[in-house]
Structures are given as C-alpha cells and as structure tokens.
Amino acid sequence: MALANELSVTPFHDITFHVPEGTFMGIAGPSGIGKSSILKCIYRTYITTSGNIWYKSLRYGEIDLSTATERQMIHLRKNEIGYVTQFLKVIPRVSALDVVAEPLLPFGYSLEDARSAARKLLERLLIPEELWNGFPATFSGGERQRINLAKAFIVRPRLLILDEPTASLDNDTKQSVLAILKEMKEQGTTMIGVFHDWDMMEQVADNIYDLRSIKREDHNNVLEVRGQK
C-alpha cells in the first residue's frame, strides 16, 4: 500500500510522505509539534486544510481521505482503517470481552467465534481472566489501554494508525504488543504511528519521519520520506 500524503495542518505546511504497503512509518518529534494532528487528518477526525491523503483502498481503489464522503469514511473505518490511542471511549455495561469481540461481528463472525478470538487476544495482551467479563469503565488506565489495543488488533485492519497506544504499559505487555505489531506487518498491515517510547519505535518502525527536521511555516521545506524495506 502506498499512502502519499501532502497535508498542511497548523503548524505544518507541505508535508509529504509515502508509506509502502506492509511497512511501519513512525512519526517522531517533541510533544505539541503536531504528530497527533497528522494522524487525525488521516483518520478524518480533523479536516485537512489543504493537500491530499492518498490511500489505496481495497474497496474504493485509490482514494483521497481528505475528500472521501462521510459514508466512505465510515465504511473505511469499519473495514480497513483502524485507529488506536491511549484513550478508550468507554461504553458502559458492555463487558471487556464483548468490547473486543464486537468489531468482528460486521464481518459475519458468530458471537461465539468473535468471543473466542477475543479471548485469545486478551490472553496475549496479558489481561487477567477475571477481568474479561468486567466492564472497562471500572478498569485502571493500563487495563483500559490493553482493551483498546485488543479492540484495534482484532480486525487486522489494512491500515493501522497508532497514537502512543502503549504510553503506560508494563514491559511484558509492551513486548507482547510489539510481537503482535510485527506479526500484523508480516500479514500486510500498513502502519503509521507515534510511540512515546523511542526504543519501541525503533523496534517496529521501518522508517521514521522526524518532524524536527522540518522548519515551521517554511513552505519550501518539503521533506520526503520514502520507505525502502
């Protein structure tokens, strides 16, 4: 998958990058520089002021995410593009197991099959079994974060956007997340992500796009990152 991106979000202008299919592009830079803004433009939580975000969709072919219709975006979010942050949108009164299983249901999984896939993933992310039937609303920050990751991993999206999803996880869980990310990459998932943990970023990223190398407000400064695997 090639994702070419020329977007301009405050405080950025003329950012261009390409992410080859099945690779991980990390975005680095100090906090407040606009890493999350770039990710949100790709997911269309933010409106891109100018520029294009080309994504090679299974369903629509080459599509500009900055101008896709809302219905197309909803479809892509359900079927192709995942987004995971450190914050879980908590849904009261749905068990952790079902929160994780739910994204599979539109794909024709039976509830039982979806739950059994969810169990495997919860286990891999070291979530204690006694929590599986609990409500994430009552969980600690770290536990919620793991539920959140499980929910994003379970559908194996074509494109996965990660915004510091491991910020407060213990080392064992981080290793497990790392292993899953590598596995997903091998299976063809393309990823764009920000990790607060440099070590983690280096272990999983094929390319790192360092925003510090771009000067603010400088229209002529176009930095190109091209991935070579």
Binding site: K40, R44, T45, Y46, I47, L58, R59, E70, R71, M73, I74, H75, N79, E80, I91, P92, R93, L104, L105, P106, F107, G108, A117, K120, L121, R124, I154, V155, R156, P157, R158, I180, E183, M184, Q187, G188, T189
Partner: protein
Amino acid sequence: MAIEPLQMSKGMTESIEKEIPLVTVKGLSKQFGSGCEYCSTPSHEEKEGNRCKHCGSIWAVRDIDFELYPGEILGVVGESGSGKSTMIRSLFLDEEVTNGSMTVSTYNKGKINIFNASAQQKRYIRNHVMGMVYQNPYLGLRMTFSSSGNIAEKLIAADNFHVGKIRERASELLDKVEIPISRMDEPPKNFSGGMQQRVQISKALANNPPLLLLDEVTTGLDLSVQAKVLDLIRSLQRELNVAMIVVSHDLGVIRMLADRTMVLRQGLVVEKGLTDQILEDPQHPYTQLLVHSLL
C-alpha cells in the same frame, strides 16, 4: 493468532456497492405564522435570523437536505429553539411541512413524497415505516393504559388482531427494554421517567420499523438513568439494525450515539460531518461554541 488479515466477504462488497439511502429529505422547510411578502421564502443567510421583522413569522426549519442510510445513527444537535423538534416532528408527520420532500426506500420503492401522502397512507407510514420517541412521554404513551396495552394499541394499528400473539409480542418488547414482565400490566404513570422512556421506545419499535426518531429522549433524566437509556438505544440499534435520527441539545448524547452529525442553528444546518470531527475539529464558529461549552 487465529485471525487472518481481512478480506471482504462478497455480500459485504455488494451491499456497499449499492448503498442506497433509507431516507432522503430535500428542501425541508417549516414556517410558523401566516407569512408576508417579505418572508415568502426562507433566507439562507445565517445573519438574518429566522424571524420575519415585518410579520413575526418564524422559519423554524430552513431548506434542510440530508440522507440517512440503513442502520446508521444521524445526530442532530443545536441549542433550544434551533428547530430540532420541528424538524423531527415534520419527519414523523406530526407537523405539516411548508416545503420539501421525504422519501423512504422501503415505502413504495422510495417513489412517494411522504409529506404529500394521503391521510390513510400517513397512518400506515407512522405505524409501519417509522417510530417516534418524544421527550415528553405523555406525547407518546397513554399514561393510564397498561404498558402492555400501549404496545397492543400500536400492534393493532398495524392490523395484528391475535390476542395471544399481541401479548407475547408485548412481553417480548418490554423485556427487551428491561421492564420486568411482572409489571407489564401497570400503567406508565406508575413508572419513573427512565422507565417511561423505555416503554415509549418499545412501543415505537413494536412493528419493527426501519426508522426510529428520537427527540431529546434523555433530557431531564438523572445522569445514571440517562446512561442506561443511551446504552439501551445503542444495543437495540446493533441488534435490530434500525436507522435512527437522534435529536439532542446535548453533545454528550450525540457523541455517544451518532455516526454522523448535523448542527442546526436558527433552522439552518450550519455544519455536518463525522461526529468525532464535529467534536474535535468543528469548522463553524457556532459549532466551536457548542463544543467549548461541553468541555
């Protein structure tokens, strides 16, 4: 892990390919008052307001267009007086519209403007094609009838006359909205506000309409009760795949339920978009104001 990277199943691709809106609304306008030569058409100017300086008539809804797709939830948000209730009451045919058209793909293949349907057709549409949940349960329920009787009334209106089946369906519906079966023959006036809303929801869904309209359903309820009602709406939507239009002045409600959202101000749609975009990157100054007051 057992799960393979996603491939689209054939059925899914096809259903998206042919995605046709369930509801299409074009040019919906509603004027209150007799109007005069100065206000014969609704102005699209935001600055002008919706009240005619000459005769005092109000364009409560001004030239609204939208589409609603099967199984999706569309949020409509705006402050009090922005025209939300007028819009949704017009859609439910409670209110005679001034202008506009509405078609529903499951009714007459989407070929009839429902606003112009005959009285008999309108009755049919309100019983089979859509259900409505009002902010005020007194508008949607007969408070002194039993709860099961309220549902029976709706089923009978849709030509179901088998007493045993009606009772069975009533208890099934009330069970879905978590009203204890032991209380199904009590009148809603005995119930708390949250329970009344749940009875109203079950009544609105009695004939399995593909479209459910909800006007400020949780406004005025305690926060914990609100959360339960919202949960219920969300789970019913998943289970029954019914499309919904959720109207609320409360962005919190919209955030919890809606995939897409329209922002209404003085009868005009000033912004529409994906709900998370409306909340995190509002484009219109009015939406920005609404969002900031939420924080």
